[in-house]
Symmetry: C2
Subunit: 380 residues, 2 copies
C-alpha cells in the first residue's frame, strides 16, 4: 500500500507531528508563575551554574536528545537538504517519545560543512543528554560522529550506522540459530558501502563473522581497486580475506548471507540460486528492496527480511534507537561502546523466545513497545 | 514570599519543565508507523525539499520557536553560562505554550563569541518559524540580533530588549492617561543602559517622548563622558537633549517618570520627592526593585510598577512575547518592526478598559491569557 497521500494529509492536518507539553501543569496562579519562572527559577539557575551535574536532576537535560540532520542523505531520497529532512526528524522524535519515553527535538542544519556541523552540535549540546545524528552522508558522517564522540561527554550516535547495524545483527543472530550456523563459519555479502554498510560490516566482525565482502556501485571492494577513498580503503583491513574482485554475481556465489543497504532490484533470482544452502537475504533498500521477497523465496531463500512493514521480518531501527538512548540517559552513559551495541543486538534477538522463532519471525515487531526496555537495560 | 525552595523541589520532582508530545496520537499499528515515518513520510520530505514554503503547512516550522541563550546575562544573576540559563529558557518555553500556544524549545549555547552565535543560530534556523534570543549581554546582544535579522527570513527578537520595552511602554501609556500627560511633555529617566534600557529608550522615542535621560553605573550618559563604548555613544543621538551631566540625584530632579532596569535600592525617597507632581516610578530590578514600592508611595509616587508578582502593577514580559510570536507565526511575519512593537504596546495598554484603570491597575495581569491574542492580532 502507498501511504504517501495519507501521510501528506495527516502532516497537513496537524502541521507536523510533535509539540511541546508542560510537565508542571497549567500556569494559572501567581505562585505557579513564581515557581516555574521568576523569581523562583533563579535558585535552580544558581544551582546548575555552580554544579553542572545537577542539570540531570533539575532540568530537561536528563531526558532530552537532539535529533540532528544536515539533510545530505535522507531516506532513499539523497541530498534533499534540511527542510526535506525535517519530517523524518520529526518522525524520529515522535518514535523516541512513543517507544522510549525520550524527549527528542529535531534540529535540521543549513550547512553540510563537516567542521561547521561539529562546531554547531558541540555548541548546542549543553541542554541535551544525548545527540542522535541522522541522515548524514558518508564519508562525512564518520568524521563528524568520531569527532563529536571525542569532544562531548554525552552519548553521540549516528543512527543510520549503528542503529541499523544493531537491528541487522539482531536479525542475523536469530537467522543463524534457525539455520544452525555459527558466526565463524558464516560468509556475508554486504551491498552498500555507505554509513549503514560500513557500520554493519564492523559490527559483524565484532560478533565473530570472519568472511565478509562489501560492494559499492563498482563491485567488490578489494585491494585491486584503484578508485577507493579513505573510508572505503578501511574495509580492506577487515573484509575480503581472499581479495576477491568482481561484480555482485561473483560476490553471491557460494555465500550464506546477503545484506542489502543499497538500491531497488539489484539482486536476481539467479544470483540467489548460486548461494549456499539455506541462504539468508536481508534486502533493506527502502521503499523498494534489492529483491522482491517473494522472488527471493521462490529462488530458494530460507529467510527473507526487509525494511518494509508489509512483509514478515521487518528490520527497522525503531527496535534499537529508543532503547539505546533510554538506557544511555538512565545510566548516564557518556559513550555508546561496541560492547553496548553487541549487547543491544543480543537483547533484541533474545526478546523473541526460541519457541516463537521461525523463518517468518526472526525479529520482534517494530510496534512491540517492550523491546526498548530490554535494550535500555543493557546500555550501561 | 521566597519561592526558591518550592521551585527547586518542583524542578527536581519533574526533572525540568517541558516535554515532547505527539500531535499524531499513539503509534500502535503498522499504518500509524507508515504514515508518521517511513515509507509515507518520504512524500512529505519530497514536497518540502522542492517547495520550502510548504514547511509552514506540513511541519513543526509553522509553530516552532527556538529560545536561545548564551547564558551571559541570566536574570539578575549575570554571566552564569548555558546550564544556569537552561531553567530560565525552559520556563520561557513553558510560558510560550501556555500563553501563546507556541511550541518553543530551549537551546543553550556553549559559546559567547558573537560571530559563532550568529553562525549557529543561522544554521539551526531552518526548522524554526521564529527565534527568541534571551539573556544575551549588551553590547553583543545588539550585534547578534541585528545581524540575524539581516540574514534570516524568520522573525528574530531579543526579548530582554523588545519584550521589556513593549510592556514598559504599555504601562507608561496607561500611566500617562491617569496622570493626564502627553508624550511630548513627559520627561523620563531610565537607569540601566544595557539591553533593556537601550530598547526602552528607543521605543519611547518612537512613541513620542522627547526628553529622556539614560544612566549607567557612572551616571548620566552625556557628551561630556569620555568612557562610552560605541553602543552607549548611540544614546547621544536621541537622549539627553540638554546634555545634563551628573548622578541619579541630578537625573531625578524635576522629572516625570523613573524607569529602573538596574539593581536593588538605588532610588531613595528623597530623590522621589524632587520629582515633578504625580511622579511615575517603574522599579523593575529583579528580585529586589530599585526602591521599595511602599517607600516610593510614602515619598509621593503617584504610580509604582515593579517586576514582582507580590505588588500591584507587575510589568512582566509574559504580557508581550507569547502574543508577539503567536502573531508573527500566524501572519507569516518575517521581521518584528518598530510599528509592530508600538502596536503591541498599545494593544496591551488598551486591553484594560478605561473604566478599570487606576493607579494600582495600569497593566493587565500577567496571568490573563486573553492578552496574547490581542497582541497577536496586531503583529502583521
Amino acid at each position: 500500500m502507498d501511504y504517501s497521500q495519507a501521510s501528506l494529509d495527516k502532516h497537513k492536518q496537524f502541521k507536523g507531528k510533535i509539540g511541546i507539553s508542560s510537565k508542571f501543569g497549567p500556569v494559572t496562579t501567581r505562585e505557579d508563575l513564581s515557581i516555574a519562572y521568576t523569581p523562583g527559577v533563579a535558585a535552580v539557575s544558581k544551582l546548575l551554574a555552580s554544579n553542572p551535574e545537577e542539570a540531570y536532576n533539575y532540568s530537561i537535560k536528563s531526558n532530552a536528545v537532539a535529533v540532528i540532520s544536515d539533510g545530505s542523505a535522507v531516506l532513499g531520497l539523497g541530498n534533499i537538504g534540511p527542510l526535506g529532512a525535517l519530517p523524518v526528524m520529526e518522525g524520529k522524535a515522535l518514535l523516541f517519545k512513543e517507544f522510549g519515553g525520550v524527549d527528542a527535538y529535531p534540529i535540521v542544519l543549513d550547512t553540510q560543512d563537516p567542521d561547521e556541523v561539529i562546531n554547531i552540535v558541540k555548541n548546542i549540546a549543553p541542554g541535551f543528554g544525548g545527540i542522535n545524528l541522522e541522515d548524514f552522508s558518508a564519508p562525512n558522517c564518520f568524521y563528524i560522529e568520531n569527532k563529536l564522540k571525542e569532544i562531548l561527554n554525552i552519548p553521540v550516535m549516528h543512527d543510520d550506522q549503528h542503529g541499523t547495524a544493531i537491528v541487522v545483527l539482531a536479525a542475523l543472530i536469530n537467522s543463524l540459530k534457525l539455520s544452525a550456523r555459527t558466526p565463524e563459519n558464516t560468509s556475508v555479502t554486504i551491498v552498500g558501502a555507505g554509513a549503514a554498510g560500513t557500520a554493519i560490516a564492523k559490527l559483524l566482525v565484532l560478533f565473530g563473522i570472519k568472511d565478509i565482502l562489501v560492494l559499492d556501485t563498482k563491485g567488490i571492494i578489494s585491494k585491486d581497486r584503484t578508485d577507493l577513498n579513505d573510508a572505503k580503503k578501511e574495509f580492506l583491513n577487515f573484509t575480503n580475506p581472499q581479495n576477491l574482485s568482481g561484480d555482485l554475481a561473483v560476490a553471491m556465489t557460494s555465500r550464506d548471507v546477503f545484506i542489502g543497504v543499497s538500491g531497488p532490484n539489484i539482486l536476481t533470482a539467479d544470483m540467489v540460486k548460486t548461494m549456499n544452502q539455506k541462504p539468508i537475504i536481508f534486502a533493506m533498500a527502502n521503499p523498494t528492496p534489492e529483491i522482491d521477497p517473494q522472488v527471493a523465496r521462490d529462488a530458494g531463500a530460507f529467510i527473507v527480511g526487509t525494511g518494509r512493514s508489509d512483509y514478515p521480518n521487518q528490520i527497522n531501527n525503531v527496535l534499537a534507537f529508543p532503547g539505546i538512548f533510554r538506557g544511555a540517559l538512565d545510566h548516564r552513559v557518556t559513550k555508546i561502546t561496541d560492547d553496548m551495541k553487541l549487547a543491544a543486538a543480543h537483547a533484541i534477538a533474545n526478546y523473541l523466545p526460541e519457541s516463537e522463532l521461525s523463518v517468518d519471525n526472526i525479529i520482534p515487531s517494530p510496534l512491540d513497545k517492550g523491546v526498548a526496555q530490554c535494550v535500555a537495560a543493557v546500555i550501561k
